[in-house]
């Protein structure tokens, strides 16, 4: 189990497309901090035991961003379900039961704002859950 703290810091200019993903794994002290930043990091994404088989739901209404982010995550070894709306995200989660470990949400989603999706997920999943916005 991961049991790490996962959060996202947005680009200071407020652009939802400029994402810096910082993952910290508390129970693996030798791992330290891994930073995967599309466009800003010189680190090459490579399949990683931490991510292998990790089931992820990616929600982004922009087809291009969705394609690129999905590929980045798959390159890390994740199994990605890509959806384009908050509603699709919630229904994908309910059909996946407990196997999804990570949700990556674009903040600006049609019809349902990313924060609202996150709130609804939290209500359904009572235990503390790694959630990425």
């Amino acid at each position: 189990m991961m049991q790490g703290n996962i959060w996202i810091s947005l680009n200071p200019l407020g652009s939802a497309q400029s994402m810096t993903l910082v993952l910290r794994f508390q129970i693996r002290p030798s791992y330290g901090r891994a930073t995967f930043a599309p466009g800003t990091s010189s680190e090459q994404p490579s399949s990683n035991p931490q991510f292998r088989g990790l089931r992820v739901i990616l929600a982004d209404d922009d087809a291009l961003n969705r394609t690129v982010t999905k590929k980045l995550l798959e390159k890390l070894g994740c199994e990605v379900t890509a959806v384009s709306s908050g509603f699709e995200c919630l229904s994908a989660l309910s059909s996946a039961e407990n196997s999804v470990r990570l949700v990556v949400l674009d903040i600006q989603l049609p019809e349902m704002h990313g924060f609202e999706v996150a709130t609804r997920i939290r209500k359904v999943r009572s235990r503390s859950w790694p959630l990425l916005k």
Binding site: S15, A16, Q17, S18, P38, G39, S42, Q44, P45, D62, A63, L64, N65, T67, V68, K71, L72, K75
Partner: protein, 152 residues
């Protein structure tokens, strides 16, 4: 020098040119690194998506700017989308024009916006031609029995 080496040299020079002139930045290199045996057409796919988007957005922006009363918020949201997707694929010049374009929208400067739109259009055409040249060179390498270099 055999054909393959010649082509590799050409593609290396051309990639260096694209980076030097700011047509693409490191994000484009990152995209190329994502290409593998399971998805050899990944970069072409993403780039095609981008240009489809670009065309739609440019048309929408042109229509909006032709109106008697310009809805600058709408133009701005189109520019914002283009700014985001150009950043995603590493289209640096287009991205930079979008930054200036956003300022014109904020200032409600119609002439400035029209100028920026013309620039965006110009940069899109240039990038499309340049990337087509790059992809053609890659196809030639494959046809000559080589594989696309991971790093140029």
């Amino acid at each position: 020098m055999d054909l393959l080496s010649q082509l590799r040299g050409q593609i290396a020079d051309f990639s260096a040119f694209l980076h030097r002139e700011g047509f693409v930045d490191d994000q484009f290199t990152q995209l190329q690194k994502l290409r593998d045996e399971s998805s050899p057409g990944f970069v072409v796919e993403v780039v095609s998506l981008f240009f489809e988007d670009c065309e739609k957005l440019v048309n929408n922006m042109a229509k909006a700017l032709e109106q008697q009363i310009v809805d600058f918020k709408q133009v701005d949201s189109h520019v914002h989308q283009l700014k985001g997707s150009s950043s995603s694929i590493g289209a640096a010049r287009i991205h930079n024009v979008c930054i200036a374009f956003k300022t014109c929208c904020e200032d409600q400067n119609r002439n400035g916006c029209v100028r920026c739109l013309q620039q965006v259009n110009h940069e899109c055409i240039q990038l499309k031609n340049n990337l087509q040249t790059l992809f053609n060179l890659e196809q030639q390498i494959i046809a000559a029995g080589g594989s696309i270099p991971a790093k140029q």
